[in-house]
């Protein structure tokens, strides 16, 4: 069942320096029980895309007229972008859609106990009594591997360690039984050993709860270990998408290849680190044509003139690059 369908999502911000394009014509689908990785560097538009799913972008965001986000739930479909009133958005903000943020310390209110925050959310989104909500919250804390959950329930965010806080954040996000979970760099602020624990936990939870997950990260290793499929973003565009195996083993877009080459690998310590030349252009100076042509090693004249479309190469593997599509041939 298709849980989420994003079609032609275009998102711009009105700023003092003009209208900035943050997301450009992005389309993807997500099934229930599937994990999709959204990879890209800072400024690639991955977080903004995810926030659009919950309408969390600030007031100066302007959505393109053709943009459409459809969420299919048990009791019908929700057209996310058509929701106008705060009250109607409750379903996509913490109800059917939950979000885990990068910095758990900044995401919990510092002066309210973890328990009270979890209870408040449950009472807002379900018909539970305070007592039931407390019971469910403690069960959830226990489920994510927090020992002595009933006493942690009464503690404040600053009393927990970083890994513990991120677990509590996950428990809180999952307690309303969401259909879609958005995880925005959930392991970036954590140490590797704790990151490994959180990745394992998230894998278990997908298996148990069967929700769809959008996993945002800049770390391709984390994607390889967690996601089923992946979309690579650059300057607001998806430049390549497909199954994780296909994209990592046989990257098609020059940018994806560049990202993989720049990554220090433990298998070959002598391999030189090859940076992607140049810097990411400022969003105010979006290149014409293919957005990546200013840094691309295989760019041709046509790349700076017209915009390459996403073209299917093989089954689910698609890429937006003139040169590569010519080389491999469209499916």
């Amino acid at each position: 069942m298709t849980l989420l369908k994003v079609e032609k999502l275009t998102l711009q911000f009105d700023t003092d320096e003009g209208r900035i394009t943050a997301v450009n014509n992005v389309s993807f689908e997500l099934e229930a029980g599937e994990v999709m990785g959204l990879v890209g560097e800072s400024g690639s538009g991955k977080s903004v895309t995810a926030k659009a799913l919950m309408q969390l972008n600030p007031g100066n965001a302007v959505y393109g007229p053709e943009s459409k986000i459809t969420l299919t739930l048990e009791d019908g479909t929700v057209d996310v972008l058509s929701l106008k009133r705060e009250r109607d958005m409750q379903v996509i903000r913490g109800g059917a859609v939950s979000m885990i943020f990068q910095e758990p310390m900044a995401s919990f209110a510092p002066a309210i106990t973890i328990g009270d925050q979890m209870v408040e959310q449950l009472m807002l989104h379900t018909k539970m009594t305070k007592k039931e909500a407390a019971r469910v919250s403690i069960e959830m804390l226990d489920r994510v591997g927090i020992s002595d959950a009933s006493s942690r329930f009464k503690q404040y965010a600053f009393e927990l360690s970083g890994g513990m806080r991120q677990r509590a954040m996950i428990a809180m996000a999952l307690s309303t039984n969401p259909k879609l979970l958005i995880a925005d760099e959930p392991t970036t602020a954590l140490d590797v050993t704790i990151q490994a624990q959180v990745i394992d936990l998230m894998k278990d939870l997908v298996a148990d709860f069967g929700m769809g997950i959008i996993f945002i990260t800049h770390d391709l290793g984390v994607i390889a270990q967690t996601a089923d499929k992946v979309a690579v973003m650059y300057l607001g565009n998806i430049v390549e998408q497909g199954l994780v195996r296909d994209v990592i083993r046989d990257p098609a877009h020059p940018y994806t290849r560049g990202l993989l080459d720049a990554l220090p690998s433990l298998d070959d310590l002598d391999a030189p680190l090859i940076p992607v030349p140049g810097d990411i252009p400022s969003p105010l100076e979006r290149p014409q044509g293919c957005v990546f042509h200013t840094r691309c090693s295989v760019a041709e004249a046509r790349c700076s003139e017209s915009v390459p479309q996403m073209t299917t190469l093989d089954k689910e593997h698609a890429c937006a690059c003139f040169v590569e599509v010519d080389k491999r041939g469209a499916a």
């Binding site: 560097e41 800072s42 360690s161 970083g162 890994g163 513990m164 140490d191 590797v192 050993t193 704790i194 990151q195 490994a196 624990q197 990745i199 394992d200 800049h218 770390d219 391709l220 290793g221 984390v222 390889a224 270990q225 994780v244 195996r245 990592i248 560049g258 990202l259 993989l260 720049a262 990554l263 220090p264 690998s265 433990l266 310590l269 391999a271 030189p272 680190l273 090859i274 940076p275 992607v276 810097d279 990411i280 400022s282």
Partner: protein
């Protein structure tokens, strides 16, 4: 790289006072505990560990940016030899130009109100290394070119630059006083991977060109593996293992190093080879466990580990490890 150390630490400890005052008892936290370490001249020395392991504090102790509570640290180059614990004011001023720091966050490290030229020139002016404006400008242009900065950019302000360019500016600022020893504390952690490789290559090139010795502090083992020639691993203020990079990554001996290495997510989706998973988290340094500091998370811990702290032992060519049963573990 020579065998002679530029920095040598013996029994180095750093304490921070966490509470206490006029009427209450003073409580200290030992962030770095009894560390023995030599950084050979011309090396790219890596220091890894989780947050709270004391790696940043150790780096700062080498720069004399925190007080050395116990033990000794010596700095030695062709011209001078300093005992960092008892450095006089005048010597400290001289040491500041010989030892420098590159920060983690290039967004926070540069003043938004100063032009790039002024940012790079400031150390020269403060230390009185140049006497005329022309001389300063000359020196700034020289180092900026070495750090691959566009000279036309010197008149701009930092906000006009991307993360990678900003980090090149901070490197230029750190190197303008011609230091011999540079501490790079998580200097690529805030950068995107495509830029990270560029900065790492630059650091390496500058080392050859200027004859620098680096202490490269990082939590990212794959970066350290690629750039450093020797790596030391810290856990809860202690040095637990230290070895030439290749040896450490091919045959780690401390259970903590092994766990750290296996926690790196593999790029191969089918590689589920994370056999060694660490439970729990690093204990608080205010209340460290007795015995081996790693015993609370170690699968091999036995009684001796909970009671007696292991010493750092030489176990091979420049390979040191602090574990009670590294040899049994090594054989299996």
């Amino acid at each position: 790289m020579s065998e002679e150390p530029i920095i040598s630490a013996k029994g180095l400890s750093v304490d921070f006072q966490i509470s206490g005052g006029l009427l209450t008892k003073n409580v200290y936290l030992r962030a770095v505990n009894n560390v023995n370490l030599n950084i050979p001249k011309g090396s790219f020395y890596g220091l890894v560990g989780e947050s709270g392991s004391g790696k940043t504090t150790l780096g700062r102790a080498f720069l004399k940016a925190v007080n050395i509570s116990d033990g000794e640290v010596k700095y030695c180059d062709e011209e001078v030899e300093y005992d960092l614990k008892t450095l006089q004011k005048k010597q400290l001023k001289d040491y500041r130009k010989r030892a420098q720091l590159i920060f983690q966050d290039p967004y926070a490290a540069l003043s938004p109100r100063m032009t790039v030229r002024d940012i790079i020139a400031e150390p020269l002016e403060v230390m009185g290394l140049t006497s005329t404006r022309e001389e300063t400008d000359e020196r700034v242009r020289e180092i900026a070119a070495k750090c691959r900065l566009n000279l036309e950019h010197l008149r701009r302000f930092p906000h006009a630059f991307s993360g990678g360019q900003r980090q090149r500016i901070s490197i230029a600022r750190a190197l303008v006083s011609s230091p011999n020893f540079v501490v790079a504390d998580e200097s690529v952690a805030a950068l995107d991977v495509s830029i990270q490789a560029d900065i790492l290559n630059l650091l390496k090139d500058l080392q050859t060109e200027l004859g620098l010795t680096y202490l490269f502090i990082s939590h990212d083992l794959s970066v350290v593996a690629h750039i450093c020639d020797h790596v030391a691993v810290m856990y809860l203020g202690r040095l637990v293992e230290s070895a030439p990079t290749r040896v450490l990554f091919d045959a780690p001996r401390h259970p903590y190093t092994k766990a750290l290495l296996s926690a790196i997510p593999s790029l191969d989706p089918d590689d589920k080879g994370n056999t060694l998973k660490l439970e729990g988290e690093i204990p608080s340094p205010t209340n460290p466990p007795p015995g081996c500091k790693f015993n609370t998370r170690c699968v091999h811990a036995i009684d001796i580990c909970r009671n007696e702290e292991p010493k750092l032992e030489h176990t091979g060519d420049r390979h040191e490890v602090a574990c009670h049963h590294w040899s049994e573990l090594f054989e299996t």
